[in-house]
């Protein structure tokens, strides 16, 4: 028990260290000594307006997406599902486009709720399709999700092309934190609060991950827990897509890495999943900022490359186990 807490503290420290690194790098030079000299300078303004919001946004988005991924995996009872391989994220992006076309003036919160509604509908469609596939194998499930995501994505692209919005929509298709400033990321707190709510229901998500019969036997209302889970996943995805854009793979990799080390009991693993998600996205964002300094590679791209490789490794590992 003590050892476990010790390791968790260590992990917290690691994420805090990454967060600190994230605070200190960027195109503008940060002179930390200005903070203490009281000479005014622009260090505190830079931190307050840009670096702290960006770092917070990374941590919030990374941990929320990781938890959303875990919940999605429990609902679909499949390891390889996450918002970006279940049509959820693409549907949220379609929702954003719908808002831009039909009600461009509405508030960001309303925009997030619309995107969340689209995400919910898209994910529900994914589950409906899954239900109709008999004897599905573990690998077919994410393939179905990727295909559904592709179809939704092409609908978005079609309308964006027709209405000359391709440029704007690309912002939502590739996650990027370079535009995060104070006042422009706060929606992510809502996603994070929902992720915390998911933690409160951790046992219920584990139970539905074991199976419907199992959950019903211990007195859990299966359909209600699935519905709540879908709502949490959709709104988290929407909050991230609306704020910084689509970030793939975090929800896939973080839960899988943690499960390998410490199993799937969500009550125990969820804090680790959240920390892993935060660390992963901080690392990728830092890498994106450093590789061609002072220019940036969007985090969505970096995560895509890193995540794609890890995803492949996970699939191959799985194949070996099965075969």
């Amino acid at each position: 028990m003590f050892e476990r807490n010790g390791r968790l503290v260590l992990a917290w420290t690691g994420v805090a260290a990454l967060a600190f690194v994230s605070l200190t790098i960027g195109a503008g030079t940060l002179h930390l000594e200005e903070l203490f000299s009281g000479s005014g300078g622009n260090a505190s303004a830079l931190l307050r307006e840009s670096r702290v919001p960006r770092t917070l946004a990374l941590v919030l988005a990374g941990s929320s997406l990781a938890i959303a991924g875990l919940i999605m995996q429990m609902i679909a009872r499949n390891r390889f599902v996450e918002p970006a391989t279940a049509g959820t994220a693409e549907s949220a992006a379609l929702g954003v486009l719908a808002v831009m076309l039909l009600a461009p003036g509405i508030s960001v919160l309303a925009r997030m709720l619309v995107a969340g509604g689209f995400a919910l509908a898209g994910t529900f469609l994914f589950l409906l399709i899954l239900r109709r596939i008999p004897h599905r194998s573990a690998l077919v499930v994410p393939l179905v999700g990727l295909m559904l995501g592709g179809v939704i994505d092409s609908i978005t692209t079609f309308f964006a092309y027709r209405y000359d919005l391709l440029q704007s929509i690309s912002t939502w298709m590739a996650g990027d934190f370079s535009g995060v400033l104070a006042g422009r990321y706060e929606l992510l707190w809502i996603g994070f609060a929902l992720a915390l709510a998911g933690y409160l229901a951790a046992d219920r998500f584990t139970a539905i991950g074991i199976g419907e019969t199992f959950a019903v036997n211990v007195g859990i209302n299966y359909n209600r827990v699935v519905a709540i889970g879908l709502l949490i996943v959709s709104l988290i995805t929407a909050s991230v897509v609306v704020t910084v854009g689509l970030i793939p793979f975090v929800g896939l990799i973080a839960p899988n890495l943690v499960a390998m080390r410490m199993g799937d009991n969500a009550r125990r693993s969820l804090p680790w999943v959240a920390l892993t998600g935060a660390a992963l996205i901080l690392l990728c964002d830092i890498a994106g900022r450093v590789v061609r300094y002072p220019y940036e590679i969007p985090v969505g791209t970096v995560v895509g490359v890193v995540g794609g490789a890890v995803f492949l490794a996970l699939l191959l590992r799985r194949e070996r186990q099965v075969g």
Partner: protein
């Protein structure tokens, strides 16, 4: 008492349960036997609210299972079905701990921990408590699920083919455990079994099904007879009594 009243269940055009009425009073071991497709598992599923019947209903201690909150039923009745394939990596102890969920909603008390450890011991899983289920053999996994159901401490325990992946030694051990649970803890145990010999020698009551109907219902003396078995299975199965036990001779 579990009471099924005129329960009918259809899948498409085939009738799996055909107007079945049965009462299972408190206590003892009841075995449900019958050929494949007789409706045994479906009856168990309807009794435990997992399957909604097309007609009729089931009550447990007077409560209709389709109208009683799941959380209430989970403290009275436990059900374990055949397919226990799980994708999650959970330890045996994690799984057994879920048996306490209906009572504590995830907050394990010291008493809960005792009950969990006891169930693990009873199923001979002491050495495997921290092992992941996906690293275990089918029989060990089966025992872990049964430990979980026992930790649930319900009056009624419904088990669908609990012996299916166990060898003879473990099957006999398991039946002994059911006997103890029924006799000393006054649990009501209902099992679906394929092996007639186990039912013949360990059950207090046998319900035989065929084509969605109950065709025989009574003590082993009344059901385990050549004429009755032939009616159930369409094969003449000889029944002999040796040293107070029933010996079945397949043709």
């Amino acid at each position: 008492m579990i009471e099924a009243i005129s329960v009918t269940k259809r899948y498409g055009s085939s009738v799996v349960l055909d107007d079945v009425s049965v009462k299972i009073p408190h206590g003892g071991i009841t075995a449900i036997i019958g050929p494949n497709g007789a409706g045994k598992s479906t009856l168990l599923g309807v009794m435990s609210r997992l399957i909604a019947p097309d007609a009729g209903h089931v009550t447990i201690d007077g409560m209709r299972v389709d109208q009683t909150p799941g959380a209430v039923l989970a403290r009275r009745l436990a059900i374990l079905r055949q397919d226990n394939h799980i994708m999650l990596r959970l330890t045996v102890r994690d799984l057994v701990a879920f048996g306490r969920y209906p009572h504590n909603h995830g907050r394990l008390s010291l008493a809960d921990r005792d009950i969990i450890e006891q169930a693990i011991r009873q199923l001979d899983l002491d050495a495997l408590g921290d092992r992941y289920l996906d690293e275990l053999s089918g029989g060990q996994r089966q025992r872990a699920f049964i430990a979980m159901v026992l930790a649930q401490e319900t009056d009624y325990i419904l088990l669908d083919e609990p012996l299916s992946s166990l060898d003879v030694q473990k099957s006999v051990q398991m039946l002994g455990l059911f006997r103890t649970a029924a006799d000393e803890l006054s649990r009501t145990i209902v099992i679906v079994v394929h092996d007639i010999a186990f039912a013949a020698n360990y059950a207090d009551r046998i319900i035989a099904m065929r084509d969605g109907r109950i065709v025989a219902d009574g003590s082993p003396d009344e059901v385990i007879r050549q004429d009755v078995l032939e009616e159930i299975y369409d094969v003449p199965i000889g029944v002999h009594h040796v040293d107070g036990r029933r010996l079945l001779a397949y043709p």
